[in-house]
Point group: C2
Chain length 108, copies 2
Amino acid sequence: MKSASPQHVFRALADPTRRAIFEELTRQGEQTVHALTSFAGVSQPAVSKHLTVLKKARLVRHRRAGRETHYRAQPEALAPMADWLRAYSTFWRERFDRLEALLDGMEP
Amino acid sequence: MKSASPQHVFRALADPTRRAIFEELTRQGEQTVHALTSFAGVSQPAVSKHLTVLKKARLVRHRRAGRETHYRAQPEALAPMADWLRAYSTFWRERFDRLEALLDGMEP
DNA sequence: ACAACTCATAACCAAATGGTGATGATTCCG
DNA sequence: CGGAATCATCACCATTTGGTTATGAGTTGT
């Protein structure tokens, strides 16, 4: 499961429409472009373009079925962003350090 | 410690130069605009504009000291992004659930 | 006092971005 | 078969974005 560059992921999720599409796919599961279009409130070409950007970030996969294309979220692709967060948020890191300590066998 | 909107945070961190500035402030601590300018490789006004964006996302704070302005990272402001990640990454959630479980199990 | 320094803001510009309607390739169905 | 449906791509447009240089306000050291 190769990841896209962090830049692609950060960029892709910076747009609210794109984030909404990704959230919808995460919550509701696989959706056609048609369904996503009526959900997103923008034109079908706009949705297709957003899906292309999400695809480049590997945040979604697609599956052709007849004339429909079904998209589904690929949350593992959030890993680069999660890794970045863990590295640069001391706030966040503390919680992980506690986990590490626990797992390592509670060294005094 | 009120947080900015997730949108502000996502937007602010989508730009690589801005992310680099934030990373630098996190790693090296407080820095003047001058220092950040020589680090970032863009003009001083560009740095100032980036800092304004980061400030609106509450990712940095500033402190005036004479003619210098010192900026420092405010990693707690990453919370909206971290919350979002936790909510929409099943991958991530699993690791968290394991942490929660561990902590809860050792509670008595 | 004044020259140098630090920084924010203004004015401007090219490129990227997010949107649109039009079109065409496929696919499905009556 | 032929019309309707689904979707990607094209051509285009307005706005935003990230950068620049110029400038001005405040601060410091000589």
